[in-house]
Structure formats: C-alpha cells, structure tokens
Symmetry: D2
Subunit: 363 residues, 4 copies
C-alpha cells in the first residue's frame, strides 16, 4: 500500500496538485474523541501557502470536509475521511513544460515509472499532498496531548547558510513566518529571502522537532523501531534528503564515554540518544532533524531533455516556494505526532496501555 | 509485524544473542534461483566478528543451515528459512550487570517496555541479529547482479575524526579490516584503534554505500518511497543515528541552481539527488550515508541506576566492538540490496518488469 | 488496516450510510488503463437500490466522482479516489430506534465495541458500503477481461426455499431483477417476493459466481491462498454466513476417487476443486457459493433491549431490502474480480507475468 | 507476506514435508507469559500422526524446540521461533511420481506457478505445515483461557455420510481417536474407516468448533471482520472447501423473524449469528463449521498427465490419511485461538482492553 503509512493507526492519502481534490482516510483512530473541522483547519493554516510573501502565492482555502468517521462531534472508531477541493490551481502554467523534465524534479521518474503523468503542478509528487498529513496530524496531536501529555514543537534550525540560535522560547516560533525560534535572526531571514526571491533561485533548510512527554516503552524491535518509523516518515516528505535522531551525524566523531547518556535516580544526564534506545522510547524528549533540499522548480534556466530525449532549456513559471523547508515545519510535526500515536496504539496491543510519563525519567 | 521488513520480498528475523539460535525467514523470493549455503557463508564472513583484532573476539562459526524453500540447489518460491546456532556465547559475563542498565543501551528501554528482558549479551537488541540481514542480503545481492546488473559497494567514510579519501578503487575496500577505501589511511586507522582499545573507550563511524545499475522507475509514491524505505532500513540497524540520501544535510546550504542535477541527452551532469527523485529511482547510482554512534558497552565506569532505580557505577566486561560502525559496512550493503530487490518486485506487480538499465542514463 | 483489503492492489473504503458521502481509494492499480466514470456507473446501477420493487426504495443517484489517479482518461498509477455523496438519506426514520438494538444487527456490537455509533441507517455497517466495492470492482473487471481474458459471472442460486436451475444461458441473468439464471423461475420469485413484502418478513439467499480464463498459477501458499483470500473477501460482505469453493460442503460426503478431478491431455475431467488446488489456480473456472442471511431490519416486532439493558419491543421502519442476497450478486462479482486481479499482480511480483490461459487446460 | 497470518499477533511458518525441518515465528505475543515446550508438545500430540490406525503412520516425534523469545520460562515480547526437525520422512516413496501430477493435489499448481517444486511428500503444500499452527495455537489458547476465560472446543461433526449427534459432553471428544462427540457413533466410525482403509479410497469430513467467553466487541469493520478473518484462517487449512459461521448455509432458507437472535435482559434467545454481528463479537459463543475434502493421494489408480503433458495412470504409495478431516480438529481449534487472540490485541490498540465477558450476555 504505497500511499498509506502507519501500523495500527494508518493514513492513506490521495490526490494530485491540480486534480479535483486531495484527501485522506485515517483508519484505526480511537473512538469517542472530540475534534472539529475548525481545529483541523487551524493546523492547516499554519502550513498553508499564501500566508507570507516567502511562500507560494497559491491561495488554498483549505476548506476541509469531514466525510466520515465522526458522529455528533466525536470519532466513532470507523475510518475518518477528510477532503479538500482544489480551487486555485492554474494548470496552464504547466502546459509549456508538459513534455520537459525539470532537473531535480520527480516528473522525470514518474514519467519513466508509469509511462504517463499528470504534469500539472507536479501531480501526485506535489507538496500539496502534505496538506493531508497536517490534517491527519491535527487529530494525532490533540489526542497525544490530552491523553498522554505529549507536546510537539518544530522549528527552523537553518536556512541556507543562516543558522538559528536554538536556545529558544517556544512562543517565538509561531510569531514569525519562518518558524524561527531566534527572534534576532528574523530580520536576516527576511533580507535573505528577499534577495533570493529577486534572484530567482531557491535554497535548502534544516528543520528540527522535539516531542516531550513521550511514554517510556513505546517503539519496538527490530524493523518497527520508533526511530526507523520516524526516519521513513520524515524521508517520505517531499524534498527531504536526510534525517537525524538525537546527536545524528555528530555521533560519528563521538567517543562512547561522551555519547552515552548516563543515568541517575533523577533522570538522564544528557540526551544524545534523542529519546530512543534500541528503537524504544526512553522517556526523554524525542529529538530529530530533517534536511530539505532547495526547490527544483526555478525560473532560472537550466539544461534538461524533453520526453523524446532531446536537449532543451527549461524555465518554470508556476508559483513555487523559494524554500520548501520553511513550510515543512508543521509537516514534520504532523508526521512526528502520527508516528508517536501509532506506536502508542501498537504498544497497547502487545503490552497493554502505557502510563503517562513518570516524573522520575526527565531529560 | 515488528520483526519483519519488506513489502513483497519480506525478511523476518528471530533470535537473541545468547539464546539457542538466530534465524530468518525470507518470503516472496523468486523461484528457480541457484544459491548455496557457502555463498551465504562467504557474505557472513565479511561481517563476522573475530576476523580482526578491531572487532569483538566472539568466535561465530556462522554455520548457516538452509531449512526450507530450496530444492536441488534452487529456490522453490516458498519461504526460505536460515538458521545459525549460537555456539560461543559467554552468558556469565553478563550476570553481574543483569540488574543494571548500561547507559546508552537498549536494556533500559526493553526492560521498561516488556517488564522482562534477556539481559545476556543484549538479547534481541544485540548486533548479532544483523547476521541474518547479511545472510538474507546475500540472496538479494546475487539476484540483483545476475538479473539486473545491479552492483552494490559500501565503505567506511569516517572513523571518529579520521576522514577517508573517497576517490577510490573499490578493490581496496576488502583488502583491509576497516572496509576503508583509502589505502593511505589504513595505518592511521590501525594506530587509532590500538589506542582506543587500550583506553577502553569506543567511537562512532560513518558508512557510505552506492548501488549502480539500479533500474530507472523503481520506488513508489508517497509512503513507499525508495528513499523512505532505505531510511527505515538503515535506521533499523543497531546504533544508527542518521541517514542521508545523496547530498544529504549538505543540501541545507545548497542553492537550487547548484543542487538540481541538470540533464543532457548523455545523462545527468551531477548526482546530488543520490539517484532518487520523488521516491523513485532515476537510473543514476543510489548513494547514501549512515551515521553510527559509539558502542555503549564500555569497561570504563559510568553512572547509572539498577532495576530498582538505585544509583550504581557500571562496568561492562563482555566482548564488544570498540567501533560497531566498521562491521556495519556489509550490513548496510545487505539492507540496500534487500530494499532494492523488494522495490523491483513491487514495481513488477504494478507496472510489469523493469528493463536492465539503459546506457542513456548515466551518472 | 481494518477498512482496506488486498495485498498489492488495495481498496480502502470509508463512509456511513447517512453520513455526507461514501468513497474509496484504490492503490496499486496499473497505469495507462482507460476507464470512464460512466463505465463505473453502469456497474453501480446493476447493484443500485430503487431499480426494482424488490429492493430498498432508497434512490441513490450513484453519481460517482473520480477525484484522483486519472489523467486524460487513463489511470496514472497513483491512488484512484472515488466519491459518492449521499443524497436520499432519511435519517429521521432511525431516531426512534437510536437507543435500541435491532436483533441480528451490527448496531449491538458497534455500540459495545466503540461506546458510540452512528445509528442512522446502520452507519458504517450498512450495505451502502458495498457500493464502493462494486465501483472498484468495475476497474478490476475491465482490466481482467482486456488483459487476461478473464470473464466473471454471478447469479442467484436460491432464494429462501426456491432453488434455481443453474444449467443456464448467461444472458438470462441480467434480464430479470433477481439475477436469476432460470427464466422459468422468475414468476415464482416475483410471487414469493410479493408475499414476503406483504408479510413484513425477510429471507436469505444463495449467490454463486464463476470466473473463467483465470491464469493457472495465481494464488500462493499458505496464508495467501487464493481460496483463503476469496473466503475473506466474501465473508466481508454484509450478511454473509458461509462460503464454499467448488464442491464446498458436498465434499464432506465425497470419496477421494469421486472428488479428485482427473486430468487428461485435453484438460480436467471435472471441477470439484472449483479451480483452486493448494491455494493456487489450476486454470479451470474458479467457482464459489456464498450464503446470505435474511435482513435483520424488519417492521415485524421483535424482542430486544435498549442501550440501558431494558427490554423493549422493536420495529424498524426505514427502507430495507427484504432480501439483501439479490443485490449481493454484483458485489460478489466485484470482490471476485478484485481478488483475482490482486493475485495476478502479486504473482507478477514474485514470478513475472502470467500468460493468458492456455487452451490445453479446460474445465 | 504469503506465509504469515495475523494482524498484530502474526505467525509465519516455513518448511516442507520432507525438507530438513518445519518451523514458525510468532511475533507480537504479549510478554511475561509462562509456557513450556511440554505444553506445546501436548497440543501437538493431539494432532500428531501415528496416534491411531486411522491416520498416517508417519511417526513424528514432534520434538519442538523453542529457539527464541523466551527467557527463564516466560515470553519476552520478542519473536518466538519454534522448530521441529523432520525425522521420519521417506522421500523415496515419491520418486516414481516426481514427474506426475496427482489429481486433486497441489503439485499440479505449484509446478505451474513456480516452474519447480519439492515433490517429496507434497513439499510446502503438505499437511505437515499445519503442525506449526497447532504449536503456535497452544500459546494463544493458554493465553485466552488464563487472561480472558475463553474456552475453545472442536469436534468431528460428520465423516463421509456418518453424522454425529452433537448434543454432547465435551469430555467424550478427546476419548476417541475421531474427536467424535457422540459416544455411540464411535463403533460405526471404526467400522467405516476399516472398510475405507481396505478399499484404498479416502473420504471428506465436517469439523465444527466453538469458543465461549469471547469478549463482546472484538472484531472490526469492514475488511477485518472477525468472521472474515476466521473464514480466511479456516480456508488456509489444507483440504478445506467451505466455511460457515453460525447458521451458515441454512440461513439461505431462513426468514428474518426466524434467523434474528432476539435479545432479553438475560441474554440472546438464540445464536444463529454464531456469535458475530457486523464482523464484531456479540459475546455469545463463536461457532463455525469447516468442510474438508477427501485426501487426493490414493493408491487407487487415476488418470492424469505428467510434467510433459502426456497421459499416465497414477498410484500414490506414500503414507496418507484416508480422512484428513479427523486430524483437522486441533488445527481448526488452533486457528480459531490465534484469530481470537489477534483480534483481542487489535481491539486493545484502538479501544483499550476488553473486559472479560460480562454475565449479562449469555448465549
């Protein structure tokens, strides 16, 4: 099931960027849980394009419909289908590149895989698909918070070469259009993006996320490791090129005595593990980083071939984010929430319920 | 199914480090394929401990038995079970730490998850489990090479702070006990490991791998992306803390014009994508990097708690690799091979067979 | 994934009888296949209520929308979402039984499982869900016919105590509202249903189906047997109480010499196996029978309890089929088509493509 | 994963009848549960061949090894591998029919599917595979009884044309080699089998099973129905040709007023549903029937073709049960136990734990 993820809580998404609609089906969600379309919409608006001048100017109403699985405001345990019609698609922007492959874009591989593709706006490979991850994530996030006290926060760690100071107050993050935790960096980011926009180029970004209150014991050996599932979840987001858990690639140069997180009766003394040992949550905060590549759809000309293999120069004129990584913050949070809840439910199956985190284990 | 991986070609592993045996069941492998126990054993010996003074001195005969799924030297299409009895386990090494949690080790989380654990040698969380990945990978690797011309090579990119020159001749890699592609680095590595061994500490490592000849078109949107499945496969290996595809975290500072791999009729002009676009193989070499943390079982004392939460000082005296990353090279190769073959078979289901790679698309 | 079926070709359905809409997501369907909403609608009309006076009088426009996975009239290989809004739902019919359990109905068990249920029209347990099976089946059926020459036909074998003569001409089946293959039985069935309707009672039915041209070799040991998957598929249809393959329960009294289907160079001499041996298709017609129980929603009063456990007399006044088995014929055909195509694709993954059936193996 | 079944509690089996060994891997079993190899062996002996003169005379020591997943007598939550070496295989019995297809046997379809087969003793399609279902079932059965009070009993309902009186005392069933609940029928069965044995022919059988104490609420819509999963589980047993839940095919002639199980505050007044409504357990006993065809390996000559398509007369001289249905009783029980426990665990994931059955709901 290539378009589904999750083990006992599953999300199946469908829809193309410029097709009639996008949607998802959430299966296995606990019954009796209250959530409204407005709450889902709020989460969607954080991700939505058109919110700032730094992201694509496509207006997406994000008018999400709940088609099933709820009754009188509560989940019923049956599959929850969410749907958003595509309203502001400008397909003709893509007509002239219909027979060309954008360098660095999935249209090359979709074409070679299927022998056919919906070239309008990237079709199924568009970041538009991630809307549904955020919608489904809204349910998981609220459930995690209410039932297990789990809190999730994501932020921009780096944009191009601009590194953010991460000794932050979480309140700052949602106060600027970059999800930047570093107030003093915001003017630099604005300047940078302004210049980038002007140049016609795009840039990569680093997104980080942390979940606190994760119950000790969730996760599983060996191919259902919590970090394995998180890695797959993050790598499934468009434009991701790398995933780290805890210390990540810095671990390469670590000594064992430096890396291992010593334990005292009061808790762990460090968190290089990123809250996961042997694929199972330790009760410390789960911490991860995700690398996003720069957008491949550029108005700066590039060399490529057309569908007949002939060399052409390509220029993409559709509306595109100069840095997809910015908008990736709520998507990373959503994938983190969905993966954590899936593993809590999986744990309940084999081992019974997990307690809310004990105060003894603190990070 | 927490102990299985793969979509249509699945591998299920079982067994603890110091239990009676370890084994695996390979399901969905194509019929009529010739392979011998000796060929599997050859692959296992590359990973085996006791091969050099730099890895654990546990002698593992790796006397693999093929219990099913083969007849007169050929696979029959039914499940292939492989088994290795554990012969050189010294369980009493672990008696004194049976009630203690090694900092940075999975025994803490297994204990909290299950309320019970086989503390001898790490039990199920031991790197011993990866033996079976290499065994199963031997079949995938041979099949990929014979039927699709796919070649896989892995190497040590960095050990602690020692970086290897990667402009290499593949022949060098198997000529030294470090899987190092850089002949001139080998004496440094020997010196480094000697000092490390003496100190009682451990160190992390960076492993890289490349697959050439990967058929364009394998992989799938959106949650069965080839890179998503590779990330999960790599993160499921013990001690992994990070995974990169292609340019990986370097993409964060890339501009779009720099990162995108331009295309000419003769092929791509670069490979920042690492051979995967939109989750689907482009026909270029698939390239990835994996970060391994240092071993957590050290004979240098560390602070921890026992199973009753009381503070204790722990020293681990079992036989352990001072750098698990060295032996991870054949494991990374095996997981890469299994994931690629799984995706070839999945592609055959939906789209029919893939052609062997065309010469037009070169990296 | 409780609301999905299939192994490599999967269908996920969602929606309640009186919710906003019902729909499905078809994943893994081969690309480049032409089908129109009209063709799907034609198949739906065969199943639709309101087509005869013998089935529920709910008018269902069955105005199916294709939301994704198609481009310029062809499947693209990405998930195909189908949606039908519920238009003629009369929810207030159910208000008075909202707190009562219909004997023989799933509202009792849904309530006990989830602690909440959408009582309007049976919610998720309504036969309305099967609409989506027929819609998805339309794609599978057309593909099977065009690519593999597989033809599927279902019919009413028995209604209550009225047994149909099954030595039939397939053309008759679609010429009467009962899917009865026995022209002479049709007046009896009309008479029977008229009396039944008057009485307020309901009745069971036997549905049979046959697929010809099934490629020899599809199916798999041991838990993916073609007959095992067919049994699950049929038992998942509302009101099913039994499934037989080939000779079915008659096999109990068979001798081995009588039951075994002898083989000659010209083909098999009988088909007690129903076209499946060891879970794998023999190339003979696949034949099965399905038993449907009578509808449990009756206007004749029955003893039951309410949600507080107090005894009440229940009368159901919504619109209900007096014999759900009649309309089950296209549903059985659809589930047969989907299961066969799933197994053809699964076979392609492991063994490569199957040839269209050879003339040598005839039933 | 063709050789695995279960959703969150999974069993993967491997091994051929005359290969080195058969085994299974049980994944997802709750930790901390005590069971011994002897307890598993006891269950195996009920199924074992060589126990009576009416079943195959192959001696199977059933010396089961527990290779993993247990520590100090308790399950650890990691995969439990069970293994039995094949000791009394007489492969040369099969040499002369190596190139012939037994009518009614899976060797025809395995050959056509895979182009290769292990012809010795039926290979993977042998009933020998079911040994592992009984072994895995032993764990599920004990767990169900201790934790949920679920009791499972199976029996022979009919052998050929001999119908057993089913108003029984469960104690009788294990007191005769036929699992017959009807003491007075035993001499007839002995006489019948003696004559059958002499004749060289085989015969079919009907097996029934009942589970009491099944928690109300387990099961799930729509494609994970408890009865759907039971149908698949039963149909996956060798030689099964039909499955019924509750009233089964008798439902066809039922009126709704007769079939619906009315409810009073003291419980249901009948159990035509067989304990399942809408795919979810009602708390009444789960009841099912399974039809087994006669063995196809006969010493009476039959017409068939060889692997080159030439007509031959076949005689099978290996050791075969004249009625596989007799030994199927413990297999049906095991599959019922595994399916019920799987659904209890699945229910725990989504809805939390199920209470042991309340006394209010009685059958």
């Amino acid at each position: 099931m290539s378009n589904s993820f999750g083990r006992v809580l599953t999300v199946t998404t469908f829809g193309e960027s410029h097709g009639p609609a996008i949607g998802c089906v959430i299966d296995g969600f606990p019954p009796g849980f209250e959530i409204t379309a407005e709450e889902i919409r709020d989460e969607l608006m954080r991700r939505a394009t058109g919110q700032s001048r730094w992201t694509s100017q496509r207006k997406e109403a994000e008018d999400v419909q709940i088609l099933s699985g709820m009754f009188e405001g509560k989940t019923t345990g049956t599959p929850i289908a969410l749907l958003i019609y595509n309203t502001d698609a400008r397909s003709k922007d893509y007509t002239k590149i219909a027979a060309q492959f954008r360098p660095g874009h999935a249209d090359y591989t979709y074409h070679h895989k299927y022998g056919i593709r919906d070239y309008r706006g990237g079709g199924r490979s568009s970041a538009r698909e991630t809307t549904m991850r955020v919608a489904a994530g809204a349910l998981a996030r609220k459930y995690l918070k209410l039932h297990y006290g789990v809190e999730i926060v994501g932020w921009l760690g780096q944009l191009g070469e601009l590194v953010c100071d991460e000794s932050f107050d979480a309140a700052v993050i949602n106060d600027n259009p970059f999800f930047c935790p570093d107030e003093k960096r915001v003017p630099d980011l604005e300047e940078y993006m302004k210049a980038l926009w002007k140049s016609g180029d795009s840039v990569g970004a680093l997104v980080r996320a942390r979940a606190t209150g994760v119950p000790v014991g969730i996760g599983a050996p060996v191919y259902a490791k919590l970090d394995g599932d998180l890695a797959a979840a993050m790598m499934s987001i468009n434009a991701t090129k790398g995933v780290e858990i805890g210390a990540g690639f810095a671990s390469v140069a670590h000594k064992g005595t430096e890396h291992r997180d010593e334990i005292t009766p009061e808790g762990f003394l460090s968190n290089h593990a990123g809250g996961i040992l042997g694929g199972i949550a330790s009760g410390q905060p789960v911490e991860l980083s995700v690398a996003f590549k720069p957008t491949s759809s550029l108005r700066l000309p590039g060399r490529t071939v057309d569908t007949e293999g002939k060399p052409v120069e390509i220029i993409t004129t559709g509306r595109h984010d100069p840095c997809v990584g910015i908008r990736a913050v709520p998507i990373v949070e959503a994938m983190l929430a969905l993966t954590l809840l899936d593993h809590i439910l999986l744990h309940r199956a084999q081992c019974g319920d997990v307690p809310a985190q004990t105060p003894r284990v603190t990070g």
